[in-house]
Every structure is written in structure tokens, then in C-alpha cells.
């Protein structure tokens, strides 16, 4: 019990602390790092990863995994862009984007909950399928969303940045962070997610319709990928077919750094949020120190491992308690 409390408080403190320290570090040693400009670009590069990370946090807490989030996001964005160029109204397009991603999530749910496929395998499959599908649909052509100054540029102002450069995206993200947080902590949905991650069979034998809730979890994750797709489109305008795989690992890294356990049952949304920010700070910071791109990759990997080592060390006690 004590262990648990202590661990929990530590959890609360440690991650944000690390974030702040890292930020300060780069302010001191980075070139023009301490500037609203940089801060904004840190936010920018967090949005889409953040949304994906929120989504997959639910899944990881149930003890599952979703490798398709990255390609799912890209596919939805691609098809969205395709429809837009075909003249569909932009708002309708955005709606469809979210819908598509949600459907993919739902399919994952069916595979896992109904067909009993291991999540890793099911979503590995859908990862490849969505990546291929998006490319096929768009005849492997780059798709473009309206830039801020075209007639339909308004959506960028809402989801990404206002004309005068205010990062409205952060509001969009925080709003849905709260949604995710409430979902996870204050609703049956979230409670069952934890319970399933902790011991699925006993939840089933408590008369809970496990497969329903599991499908729900994967669907919600898909939904968040849809939201990610919107902000991705708003940020980068151009969507390139056949991309998106690999992004899932960034999101997962964020979740892990945030202290969520891959074996399920344990995790927090705030942790994920901080994890996502931490990665962006690292990325932007190393750049500002004039380190070429690949140092990012290296250090992100390092951080993932350190974060979890720290976690293990911290919770050793808590874990030690009777296994028999």
C-alpha cells in the first residue's frame, strides 16, 4: 500500500520534473531555444503524436497493442485529401476522415475481441492493409489539404494555427486530453479497461460483456487516430501515400515514457501527455543544439529505456509483494 502511494506520488512528480529539467537544459545550451517560436514548434510537432498516444493508451491499459495507428491516421488523411480534391466540402471531409479511422479501429476491435486474434498480429495485419489501402485508393498520389489561404483554409485556423500565428492546435489537443482523461478515470469504459488489463477472464466471469468493451476500446483508439489525422493534415497539408508506419512507435514510446505498463492494468493519461511533450522537446532541443537529425532517434530510444528502468526500480518494492 505505502509502496503504491509513494510510487504514485513519484509518478505524479517525476515525469513532469524530467520534462521541465529537459526544457531548461535546452534553454541553456540550445541556440535560440528559449523563444515562443520554438515553444510553438514543440507544440506543433506534439499534436498528432499526442492524439495517437491518447488513443493507444486505452488499448495498452487493456493489455493490448495497436500497430496500425500510424498508417490508419495516414490512410484516413490521404482519403480525406483525395475526396477534398474531388470537391467534397472540407467539413464533410474532416468528418469522413474521423469516421474512416474509427471504422479501422472498430475492425481491429472485431479481430481482437471476436475473432480472438492476438492484438499484435491483428494490428500488424491492419497496419499493412491500411498503408496499402490508402495508397491504392489515391493511386499512390500525394494528397493536399487546403493551405491556410485557400477558401477552405479556415479549418487550419481552428485545428492548427490562427492567421496571426496563435497555436490553436494546443487548445484542440488539451480539450481532447480532458475527454480522454475523463473517459479513462471517471467512466465504466475506463474502469473496465483497467479491469480487463488486470484479469480479463475474471471480468468476464463478473458478468461484464468483455468483448463489447474491448471493441469499444479499439474503436475509441481509431477515433483518436482520426483526430490525429485532422491535425496532421492541418499541420503538414501534404499527405504522402505509403507512409505512416513507424509513427506508431513514437506514440507507443510516449505512452511508455508516460509510465503506462505494457502488460496492462496500469497507466495514466497525464503520463502519456507528458511523454509526448518530452519527446518533442527532446527532438526540437537536440536540433537547436545543432545535432543532426539522427541524434533525436538515438536519444529517444535511450529515454524510453531509462524511463522504464527508473519505473521498474521505483516499483520494485510494489511488485515484490506476494506472487503466490
Amino acid at each position: 500500500m505505502e509502496n503504491l502511494k509513494r510510487k504514485f506520488d513519484l509518478q505524479q512528480i517525476l515525469a513532469p520534473a524530467a520534462l521541465v529539467i529537459l526544457y531548461i537544459f535546452f534553454c541553456l545550451f540550445g541556440k535560440n531555444f528559449f523563444s515562443t517560436g520554438t515553444l510553438v514548434s514543440i507544440l506543433d510537432s506534439t499534436y498528432y503524436v499526442g492524439f495517437m498516444a491518447f488513443g493507444i493508451t486505452f488499448i495498452i491499459i487493456t493489455g493490448g497493442i495497436d500497430l496500425s495507428i500510424g498508417t490508419n491516421m495516414m490512410m484516413s488523411a490521404l482519403i480525406g485529401g483525395y475526396l477534398y480534391t474531388k470537391g467534397v466540402n472540407i467539413w464533410l471531409v474532416l468528418g469522413i476522415v474521423v469516421l474512416l479511422a474509427t471504422i479501422v479501429g472498430w475492425i481491429n476491435g472485431i479481430f481482437v475481441a471476436k475473432l480472438k486474434l492476438p492484438p499484435f498480429i491483428a494490428t500488424l495485419g491492419t497496419m499493412m492493409m491500411t498503408q496499402g489501402f490508402g495508397a491504392i485508393m489515391t493511386k499512390v498520389q500525394t494528397q493536399r489539404f487546403p493551405s491556410g489561404f485557400d477558401v477552405d483554409g479556415l479549418y487550419k485556423q481552428i485545428f492548427y494555427k490562427t492567421g496571426d500565428g496563435f497555436p490553436s492546435g494546443i487548445i484542440y489537443m488539451l480539450v481532447f486530453f480532458v475527454v480522454a482523461w475523463v473517459l479513462l478515470t471517471k467512466t465504466r469504459f475506463g474502469r473496465y479497461a483497467y479491469a480487463i488489463g488486470s484479469n480479463e477472464e475474471s471480468v468476464r466471469l463478473s458478468g461484464v460483456n468483455v468483448s463489447f468493451w474491448k471493441i469499444a476500446v479499439y474503436t475509441v483508439c481509431g477515433f483518436f487516430c482520426g483526430l490525429a489525422a485532422i491535425v496532421y493534415a492541418a499541420t503538414y497539408t501534404t499527405i504522402i501515400p505509403g507512409t505512416g508506419n513507424g509513427l506508431e512507435m513514437n506514440a507507443i514510446a510516449a505512452v511508455i515514457i508516460g509510465g503506462t505498463s505494457m502488460s496492462g492494468g496500469i497507466g495514466t493519461m497525464s503520463g502519456t501527455l507528458i511523454g509526448a511533450f518530452l519527446m518533442s522537446v527532446l527532438k526540437t532541443g537536440l536540433m537547436s543544439m545543432g545535432l543532426q537529425g539522427h541524434f533525436q532517434t538515438f536519444f529517444t530510444g535511450l529515454v524510453v529505456i531509462l524511463a522504464v528502468l527508473l519505473d521498474i526500480y521505483r516499483t520494485k518494492k510494489a511488485n515484490a509483494v506476494r506472487k503466490d
Partner: protein, 507 residues
């Protein structure tokens, strides 16, 4: 008991082969062993008893090098030894059968038994070990195919494989930690034969069990532990049940059978099962009356759990009907059963009863969460209040309701599960082995609780492999054998012998 074996004499004067002195072991938070002590004489069967958490398993894990003692020494054959890991202990001739099954389901029986002993060569073949294994099985008259994947064996057979594995070290000292928890009467008899055979070959054995009848049957001496401390060592023939239990729990508990049922035949039938059939259960029919406790007796593998799982919708039904309060139920999944007010307490808490990472309160409301949600949100206040009332009502020993359930003792975990079903106000409760692996103290509390529930008008099905338990609690006793109900006895007519007769009747 009907196994008809009596403790062989003469071993009590044998020389001391092993001595554990002043063993002290702390885990985070728990002081598991406090200067504890144990003495073995060559060739004896030494029972080690104590309530749950008394430290029996830990003591054995220290002896076999799985845990390292913080203090104390082990003297084996007159010299001080220190086992750094299980291998050391094995090579020194000390083997153990662990409390929980520890087999590799994807490997064959032979591969399991000889894992880690494939020989020093980097390359391995199975021919040799298959032969060896077959010999071992034959020696103990076990019908198991050495090349069968262990995952395909029944629990009983798996347990036997474990035991054979331990024996196969041709150990000087053999430790059996609750080997019978999952065994049938007949298998237990087999086991005892094996043990006596080994004893005749001069093997010393430590035998841990919660079943007093077995202990009195098989052991020469009994060492009692309480809260990690050594209490005393008794010579089996010179002691009696009360003395042992008193030493264990520090108070006397009598288990006297129920003399008669006060449930009138006129009492309304709550649950009506007709012709229930599946792969392992055949044409099971019975009525359950309001406020009654219906005991289900039978050997292991008799199909009681399976029957329960079928009624509860945990496994698919081939045919048969289930009526609740006269209404026919369509049960496809546990959801349906629970909706109909049926609750099931599994025989395997850890795997089927608890969400171990969750708190006491989360587990308590798990089955009834929809009634604790307002406008889609969980009403934490209501949850807290409810849980606290039950913690009091059936006195669950926990520091707080936000305590992780995995940190509770078996007995208290069981109580939380009971609470879970009461909260869901189920009026039919199926207790499957409600006291398996639970100590005498906790047991009697569970019994009280069940009686209370029955008096409150809930109807209970109690599956149990312990006949005293059946006899003490039940109003009627359904005897099962090979998936069939062979007889439903009124408690007045029931006795251990009669029940065993029906439980072993083949038809």
C-alpha cells in the same frame, strides 16, 4: 481414512537428517519467518501445518534455495549447508513439489520431468528420458504417456507429473507443498501409496497440507507454524485434531456436521436445472430451493465445476434447460446469468475471481458497475459507501478499501468476491471450493457468512471436495460422478461413506 494406511513406526527415533535453525526472512513489508525452526529425522514423513501465510511455503523455499534466509542456518547430514539456488538443493538431494503447478504445457511429460537434466552435451534427444520416465510412471502405477504434452493432461495427472519429477531426483528429502489441493480421493490414496513406498526406501518427506485427516493418516510427526514462528512439534500418534488446530490458530474450532435441514419441502424452487449436458456433463437435473445450501460432492473431475460453469454460461451448453423462479433462461454468456441473478465464485480465485491490479473497492463493484454510474460517470461516493459497509458487515481485513486486492490474504480475497455478488444482489450463489487453500480460521468465517446468506433467503450451491465441509454446511447433497448426478441425499441420510459410495458409482 478409507485409504487404510497407518503411520509406520520406528522413524521417530531415527537420527536427525536436517535441521533449520533460527531462520529469519523478510519481504518488503512482510516479516515472513521469525527465527523459525524445523527438525527432520531420517525416513520420517513430517507434516508442516499452519494457517495461510504462516510461512510454510517460504520456509521450504528457503530450504530449497529459492529464497535466501536473512538469518539462521541449515544443517544437513551434520554439516552446515547453504543453497544458492534450486540446483544446489537438487544436487544435494532435496527436491520439492511446489504448492502451485509449475509445468511447461507445451513440453511433453518426459521433457518436463527432465528439464535442466538433459545431460551436459549441447545436443539433446528424447529417447533416453522417455524410457526413464516410462519406468518411473510404471513404478508408481500411473497411466500417463511420457510423450504426451502436459497441457493436455488433467490437473490431477499434471500434479502427478510434478510429483514424479520431484521423485526422479532420487532425493533424500522430498518436500510436498499442498500436493493434494487439486487431487481426488483416489488419487490421494495413490499418492499416499507412493509416499509410503518412498518411505520404505528411506526417503524423508515434508508434507504440507490444510487437510487434517490426511495429515493424521500419513505423517509421523507434525510441526506447527503460526505467523512465521515455530510453535511446536507433535508426534502424530500422541496428539489429536483439537490440539493441532489449537496450536495453529491459538483457539479451538469444532467442525460438527449438520444434523438436519430446516428448509421445508414447501420452500419455493428458485433454480431449476433440467437435463444439462455438455462434453463433460451429462443430463444433470436438480432443484435449488430458497434459502437452501445444496452441496455438490464428488471426486475431482466429476464435473461439478463444469456444471457450475454451464449454469453460469462460462462454457457453452449442448442441451438442457435452466429455469429461474419458473422462468426459462437463455444463458449464452456469464452476462446473462448475472442478469438473472446468478453469481459464481470460482475454485481458482487468482485466475477467475480477482482483478489483482485493482483495489478492493473496484473488485467489489466490478459486477454491478452500471448501478454505480450516474449520467455515464462513476459515482465514487456511492462506491466508497457501499464498500465500507460490506467491509464492516462481513469483516474483510484490509487497511483500506483502496488497498490492492492482491495484497489481501486468501480468506479475505474470498470475502471480497462474496461481497461482489451480494452487491450485485444475486439470489443464487455458486460457491466452487469456497475454502480451497484457506486456513481453518478463515474457513469458519466463510461458513458463518454462507449460513448468514442462506438465512437471508439466498440460495447457495456449494461445490466442495472436503466431505466434512459438505456435511457441515449442506441441507441436501448432490453426488456427482463422471459428469452425472448419481444421487441427491438429504443431509439426515448423508455420511462420508454414503457420499463416497455415490461419488464413485459408475453407471
Amino acid at each position: 481414512m478409507n485409504s487404510g494406511i497407518t503411520a509406520a513406526n520406528g522413524t521417530i527415533e531415527n537420527p536427525v537428517i536436517l535441521e533449520m535453525k533460527g531462520i529469519d526472512k523478510r519481504f518488503q513489508g512482510v516479516h515472513a519467518l521469525k527465527k523459525s525452526h524445523l527438525e527432520l529425522r531420517k525416513g520420517e514423513i513430517h507434516a508442516l501445518v499452519g494457517e495461510n501465510g504462516a510461512g510454510k511455503s517460504t520456509m521450504m523455499k528457503v530450504l530449497t534455495g529459492i529464497y535466501q534466509a536473512d538469518e539462521g542456518e541449515i544443517i544437513y547430514n551434520g554439516e552446515k549447508v547453504h543453497f544458492k539456488n534450486p540446483k544446489d538443493a537438487q544436487t544435494a538431494g532435496i527436491a520439492i513439489v511446489h504448492q502451485e503447478l509449475n509445468l511447461m504445457n507445451h513440453l511433453t511429460a518426459a521433457q518436463n520431468i527432465f528439464i535442466g537434466r538433459e545431460g551436459n552435451s549441447f545436443f539433446v534427444t528424447d529417447d533416453e528420458i522417455n524410457v526413464k520416465t516410462r519406468r518411473l510412471f510404471e513404478r508408481f502405477k500411473m497411466k500417463i504417456d511420457p510423450t504426451e504434452k502436459v497441457g493436455n493432461l488433467t490437473v490431477g495427472k499434471q500434479q502427478m507429473v510434478e510429483i514424479v519429477k520431484a521423485i526422479s531426483f532420487d532425493a533424500k528429502i522430498l518436500i510436498l507443498d499442498e500436493p493434494t489441493a487439486a487431487l481426488t480421493k483416489s488419487e490421494i490414496v495413490e499418492l499416499f501409496d507412493v509416499m509410503n513406498d518412498l518411505k520404505a526406501h528411506g526417503v524423508t518427506m515434508i508434507y504440507i497440507s490444510h487437510r487434517m485427516d490426511e495429515i493424521q493418516t500419513i505423517s509421523d510427526r507434525i510441526t506447527i507454524m503460526r505467523d512465521g514462528e515455530y510453535v511446536k512439534t507433535l508426534v502424530t500418534k500422541e496428539t489429536n485434531l483439537d490440539e493441532i488446530i489449537k496450536a495453529m490458530v491459538g483457539r479451538v474450532i469444532y467442525i460438527e456436521p449438520k444434523t438436519g435441514s430446516n428448509i421445508p419441502d414447501s420452500a419455493p424452487v428458485v433454480l431449476e436445472v433440467r437435463g444439462l449436458t455438455s462434453r463433460d456433463v451429462h443430463d444433470v437435473s436438480f432443484d435449488l430451493r430458497k434459502g437452501e445450501i445444496l452441496g455438490f460432492a464428488g471426486l475431482m473431475g466429476a464435473g461439478r465445476t463444469e456444471t457450475a460453469r454451464l449454469i453460469f454460461g462460462a462454457d457453452p451448453i449442448d442441451s438442457g434447460e435452466i429455469y429461474k423462479d419458473g422462468k426459462k433462461l437463455k444463458i449464452k454468456a456469464p452476462v446473462d446469468a448475472v442478469r438473472a441473478g446468478i453469481g459464481y465464485l470460482s475454485e481458482d480465485r487468482k485466475r477467475f475471481g480477482l482483478a489483482v491490479d485493482l483495489s478492493v473497492s473496484d473488485n467489489t463493484v466490478l459486477a454491478d458497475l452500471e448501478n454505480f454510474t450516474r449520467k455515464g460517470f462513476i459515482d465514487d461516493r456511492k462506491v466508497r459507501e457501499t464498500c465500507e459497509t460490506y467491509v464492516q458487515k462481513i469483516n474483510i481485513k484490509t487497511p483500506s478499501i483502496s488497498q490492492l486486492i492482491r495484497n489481501l490474504s486468501g480468506g479475505n480475497q474470498q470475502k471480497v468476491i462474496v461481497a461482489k455478488w451480494i452487491v450485485r444482489n444475486c439470489d443464487v450463489l455458486i460457491f466452487d471450493e469456497p475454502t480451497r487453500g484457506i486456513d481453518v480460521g478463515a474457513k469458519s468465517e466463510i461458513y458463518k457468512l454462507m449460513t448468514l446468506l442462506a438465512e437471508e433467503g439466498k440460495s447457495i450451491i456449494m461445490i466442495s471436495s472436503e466431505l466434512q465441509e459438505i456435511l457441515r454446511m449442506s441441507d441436501r447433497v448432490a453426488c456427482m460422478c463422471e459428469g452425472r448426478i448419481t444421487k441427491i441425499l438429504n443431509i439426515e441420510d448423508a455420511s462420508q461413506e454414503i457420499i463416497m459410495k455415490y461419488a464413485t458409482r459408475r453407471n
